[in-house]
């Protein structure tokens, strides 16, 4: 895949192409061991001397350069040199590794003692002293000061020679300003020494300073960049050595501008109080020591004396800017930080960036922070099984027809009358209440009883004699039961009304859903195991269809006990609601046979099926995209998927994933199929082929067809189950529709006529067949088409047809009338004859265009196959609209 010829020089190509593999090139044989030789650069053979072939013969010619090759070093006695041996240093026993960078004695270049400036470096020492004040072992600087160094480093010597004196700073001399040496003894703690150069300058201005006198620069205390060691927190110091050993008294007040006292006060919060006790150890890490007299201040009690007691009482000039400093000082210098700055930190000069805080938006007054999903609509559509379009219509129509009741929760809070009004249904004929079913005298009696019971209860409540009420109520109930024992119908009605008015509602619902439904063969048999019960159930359904109100009561078996009847009543009503006919019988017609579990009677079908493809196709042709081509379904994403997409679950609480599914009877699909206008032909119609020209041939045919029709007949029942899928597909492909539309009526008539004739007499049929045959001969497509179709069909099919053709060939040879040109055709038709249903399709299809023929033959092949699993059908049909797979490289 190198670059093209046009513009090679412009392009950068990457890598070197591999040599093309030659398919027919003989494979290289591995070279045997004795032929594996090595030559040096001059072409001489080299020999290898391994350990097993004589060792290393590293003589003069073969390697190391000396004639003798490798020879052991000669032994030299060190006995004579024993006395000369000196003391061994540790380094003598170290190898290079130890002396290396990571060894135990790294040999690296260091400044020698002479050049190191450690000893007499006053400035450094000062810094160390400052830092050592809070060191854990106090006084090590004292020890160092006691021991005087014997010599000074060369740097100090040099400086001295250049005129530097101890205590001075290093650098060019400064004019005009006399630098007073700061000794620390001159300035006591009352005078702020650092950070007050202004005052110093003022002093200098007062003194006389001649112009030609220069002064040494001020000595600078360098910052000690000693790294932090230990695991203590920032700003922590364990002990105050000055406090502990020297017993030095801290200044009485917190002086914020004196560094010494500042450090003290910031490090030890209880400095003043610690000063009051004599010596001892104090610090944050310690509690009460053994030497302490009192333990009052251990836990950092704050005393009010440290705080200012009056506002603005102190003069701003006195250097007392505390926590409660006046406003102008806090502005100038952020006083809130004073005394809290950690060691090693300084206050920044620039103020930090101010964060602009945007106020949150003001919420509207009627805002409620709860999002409400449209669960009502979901539940409506899910439970009732109506199509989403209908659900939508319901939802919208509610707004127009009924006054909106916002607090109305769901469908179940409406009563049947309201719901009926919503659905726009007529008022049901017949009684609306169970009471109306009763005979008038019974009803009167019941009403009397009810009013009596009501008044009794009222009385009882009024007299507040609870026990009396209970007993009387029980007595009433007993008397009621006794009075009603007479008529079973009344009692059943009563028990129905008493047990659950919900059942009654359900009954209404079932009635509403079943009434007016065509009495098509009902698919699902919920009580299949109990035939008599199923029969009763079907009776009940029939009555429901007729709009009978008391369908349940009439269809129940009167010979059963009351309990059984009531149970069965509930079951029937529930079943009738559960398996109510779908609102659109057309949508229920198609089963996508994705799941081929043959054991179960039901198939999971997605609830919302896509609408008719034809309409959409027409819309696409007219370029009317939009409502006609757009369909919207409810779709449940997985919970985890929502989580990963950072999206709230649109259906919280529903365990569904994907499209909502409905269990539907597998066979219902087939039963619902009413599109096929042509009634299923008797197997004899298979004879109508164009090969029975002569009578003798026809006889053979008849024999053969008889044989062939038998398995076809027997297997047709089995095939129906499998064939549902095929038929689905056929419907989908509009085969029958187009047939009905396009096929001229004459042909249909003829076909129908032929069928009727078939049943009557065979002679007529043969005549008709001959005519038919002629027609077919005229319009027969070229052989290539058949070949192409069948060559591309499955191997299974071709092999079976070959087997058949062989048999048929034999029979024909027996007759001695073999037509070689007709033989090929026969191969094809043998597949046609095997299935009764597909024959109708194919014969009709033969009159159609080539496209139809293809689908027709496909269907035959599918019917012929014993297990048309969904996958295989899918694969088989996929070529219809498959993108050419070969040229796709990506």
């Amino acid at each position: 895949m190198a670059s093209d010829s046009d513009g090679d020089e412009d392009f950068v190509s990457y890598g070197t192409p591999l040599e093309p593999l030659e398919e027919d090139e003989p494979r290289k044989k591995p070279v045997p061991l004795h032929e594996q030789t090595v030559k040096d650069e001059k072409g001489r053979f080299q020999r290898f001397h391994g350990a097993f072939t004589g060792g290393f013969s590293a003589g003069y010619y073969n390697t190391v350069g000396s004639k003798e090759g490798w020879a052991p070093a000669t032994f030299v006695s060190s006995r004579q040199q024993k006395a000369e041996k000196q003391l061994a240093r540790p380094e003598d026993f170290m190898d290079d590794e130890d002396l290396g960078e990571h060894g135990i004695a790294p040999a690296q270049i260091t400044t020698s003692q002479e050049f190191s400036s450690s000893r007499r470096d006053e400035a450094r020492e000062k810094a160390r002293a400052v830092n050592a004040q809070a060191a854990l072992i106090p006084g090590d600087t004292l020890l160092e000061e006691l021991i005087a160094p014997a010599r000074s480093s060369i740097g100090v010597e040099l400086l001295r020679k250049m005129g530097w004196k101890e205590g001075q700073g290093v650098g060019p001399r400064v004019k005009r300003k006399a630098r007073r040496q700061q000794t620390g003894s001159v300035y006591s703690s009352t005078m702020p020494p650092a950070g007050s150069e202004d005052s110093e300058d003022d002093d200098d201005d007062d003194d006389f300073a001649p112009e030609d006198v220069t002064f040494a620069p001020k000595d600078v205390t360098p910052v000690d960049f000693s790294p932090r060691s230990g695991v203590r927190g920032l700003g922590y110091r364990g002990l105050d050595p000055g406090m502990a050993l020297l017993g030095r008294a801290a200044p009485e007040h917190i002086d914020l501008f004196k560094p010494q006292s500042e450090t003290r006060s910031r490090l030890f919060g209880a400095a003043q109080r610690g000063s009051r006790r004599g010596g001892g150890v104090a610090g944050q890490a310690f509690g009460v020591g053994a030497l302490e007299d009192e333990d009052e201040d251990v836990y950092h009690k704050d005393s009010m004396s440290r705080y200012d007691t009056e506002l603005g009482g102190e003069e701003p000039g006195d250097g007392l800017y505390g926590w409660t400093a006046p406003q102008q000082y806090t502005k100038r210098r952020d006083a809130s930080y004073l005394g809290k700055i950690l060691e090693g930190f300084t206050l920044t000069q620039r103020a930090g960036e101010e964060k602009t805080i945007f106020p949150p938006p003001t919420l509207p007054r009627d805002y409620r922070p709860v999002h409400r999903f449209h669960l009502t609509s979901v539940s409506v559509s899910r439970l009732s099984g109506v199509s989403p379009a209908l659900a939508e219509a319901l939802r919208t129509s509610r707004g127009h027809m009924v006054k909106e009741e916002p607090q109305q929760g769901g469908r179940h809070q409406l009563d049947s009358g309201q719901r009926r009004a919503l659905l726009g249904e007529d008022v049901l004929q017949g009684p609306s209440s169970v009471m109306e079913l009763l005979k008038p005298e019974d009803r009167d009696r019941l009403l009397n009883l009810r009013t009596m019971a009501g008044s009794m209860a009222e009385n009882a409540a009024r007299s507040s004699a609870v026990s009396l009420a209970v007993t009387s109520a029980v007595a009433m109930a007993r008397s009621m039961a006794g009075s009603m024992a007479g008529s079973s119908s009344v009692s059943s009605a009563l028990s129905g009304a008493a047990s659950s008015s919900g059942l009654h509602q359900q009954q209404q619902e079932a009635l509403a859903s079943w009434r007016g439904v065509q009495s098509s063969t009902q698919s699902f048999k919920p009580f299949e195991k109990n035939p008599s019960k199923q029969a009763r159930y079907e009776l009940y359904l029939d009555r429901l269809r007729q709009g009978d109100r008391d369908a349940v009561e009439q269809s129940l078996d009167s010979g059963m006990t009351e309990w059984e009847r009531s149970r069965e009543r509930e079951e029937f009503v529930r079943a009738s609601i559960l398996y109510r006919p779908s609102s659109s019988s057309l949508t229920a017609r198609f089963t996508s046979a994705k799941h081929d579990e043959d054991d179960g009677d039901t198939v999971e079908v997605s609830r919302d099926q896509e609408g008719d493809v034809d309409d959409k196709q027409a819309a696409v042709k007219m370029k009317m995209f939009g409502k006609l081509t757009r369909e919207t379904f409810e779709w449940h994403p997985d919970k985890l998927l929502c989580k990963r997409f950072n999206v709230p679950d649109p259906f919280p609480g529903s365990g569904l994933v994907g499209m909502p599914k409905v269990k539907r009877d597998k066979f219902s699909v087939f039963n619902f199929l009413t599109v096929t206008e042509t009634p299923p032909k008797p197997p004899e119609t298979g004879k109508r082929s164009r090969w029975d020209i002569s009578d003798q041939k026809k006889k053979i045919k008849e024999e053969e067809e008889g044989d062939a029709s038998l398995p076809a007949c027997s297997s047709s029942e089995q095939q129906t189950a499998d064939g549902t899928k095929v038929f689905n597909y056929l419907c989908r492909q509009k085969l029958i529709r187009t047939f009905r539309e396009n096929c001229d009526e004459e042909l249909v008539n003829r076909v129908l006529f032929n069928q009727s004739v078939d049943q009557k007499s065979s002679d007529k049929k043969s005549n008709g067949d001959e005519e038919e045959e002629e027609d077919e001969e005229e319009s027969r497509p070229p052989m290539d088409l058949f070949k192409a179709i069948f060559a591309s069909s499955s191997d299974e099919k071709s092999s079976s047809s070959e087997g058949e053709s062989e048999e048929e060939e034999k029979t024909k040879e027996d007759e001695g009338k073999v037509e070689p040109q007709a033989l090929n055709l026969f191969n094809i038709s043998s597949s046609v004859t095997s299935s009764s249903t597909s024959v109708t399709v194919s014969t009709c299809a033969n009159q159609q265009t080539g496209n139809l023929k293809i689908s027709g033959t496909f269907s035959q092949m599918l019917v012929r196959q014993r297990q048309p699993s969904w996958l295989s059908t899918k694969k088989r049909f996929s070529p219809r609209h498959h993108i050419n797979p070969a040229p796709i490289i990506r």
């Binding site: 939009g626 757009r630 779709w635 990963r644 499209m659």
Partner: protein
């Protein structure tokens, strides 16, 4: 074959079973990822350029680590060739569409080997797939463009009739663009499904070719089998540019997310087309 992971890098995949990462600006090969058993059909990079997912005819989806070139995860489950693959915006889910008619959502965070969810609504192979925020757009050979709205929990199906080869969202997220084998590119309104524009003139009959929108939604671009890239004005629908790329089929194209920079793939080479001034400053990469 070409896909700009972001503007600067380019992933090319092809029948050599490998996946190559290129730098667009320099035209150099950065890395080769090999591990697929058959030709690699599609690839996508995550938003942080940390991971790559690719799909192949060997029915697998592979998640790669960009830096090391190692296979982070190999996801099996499709029953056929996997045509298209895409990360979601956060790189937490890989969505792959296969010839078996399913879209599978794989979790990159967990070690589960099964997909989170299988979308089997398509009745034929899924040829193209795009993700934008909470929406998933799939184009299928059954001639339907499906849009799964995770937030609303809805599936919108638009019937186009002809097998879909490529779908994509517009940059403003209001429209969907779909090219189909009837040699037409259609711009549909996302919410209603109405057609806003139809762009024809190119040839797309048998190959699965790409289409895309320019970075500012001003133009519609599509590959063609006659070796050109067609560029239409989005509003007027008039052909503004017919870019001759070569003699063979332009197999894929991709537009830079921000700049006017177009990538085209043809016969093992990826070309980078710049803006007007230096019309074609292409870098040709032999794969």
């Amino acid at each position: 074959m070409a896909r700009a992971a972001d503007g600067n890098y380019l992933l090319s995949c092809g029948s050599d079973k490998s996946l190559k990462l290129w730098s667009v600006s320099r035209g150099t090969l950065l890395k080769t990822y090999s591990g697929h058993g058959y030709e690699v059909l599609d690839a996508d990079g995550s938003y942080d350029n940390g991971q790559i997912c690719s799909c192949s005819s060997d029915k697998t989806v592979i998640l790669w680590d960009v830096a090391t070139g190692q296979v982070a995860r190999k996801l099996r489950g499709h029953a056929g060739k996997v045509n298209c693959v895409q990360f979601n915006e956060e790189g937490t889910v890989i969505l792959s569409g296969s010839i078996d008619g399913t879209v599978r959502c794989w979790d990159t965070r967990s070690r589960r080997f099964e997909a989170i969810q299988v979308l089997d609504e398509a009745t034929d192979g899924v040829s193209s797939l795009k993700v934008a925020q909470h929406e998933l757009l799939t184009g299928s050979v059954d001639g339907r463009v499906r849009r799964y709205d995770l937030r609303m929990g809805q599936l919108h199906v638009d019937f186009i009739s002809s097998p879909i080869t490529c779908v994509c969202f517009s940059q403003d997220g209001q429209c969907t663009l779909s090219s189909s084998l009837d040699s037409a590119v259609r711009l549909l309104d996302k919410s209603t499904g109405e057609m806003l524009g139809e762009y024809t003139g190119h040839k797309m009959k048998g190959y699965k070719l790409d289409c895309c929108l320019s970075s500012k939604d001003t133009h519609v671009l599509s590959c063609s089998e006659d070796g050109h890239v067609y560029c239409w004005d989005l509003v007027e629908g008039s052909l503004t540019l017919k870019l001759p790329v070569g003699k063979a089929v332009v197999q894929s194209l991709s537009f830079h997310p921000t700049e006017t920079c177009l990538l085209t793939a043809m016969e093992g080479r990826v070309q980078v087309w710049g803006a007007e001034p230096e019309e074609t400053d292409e870098v040709v990469l032999a794969t």
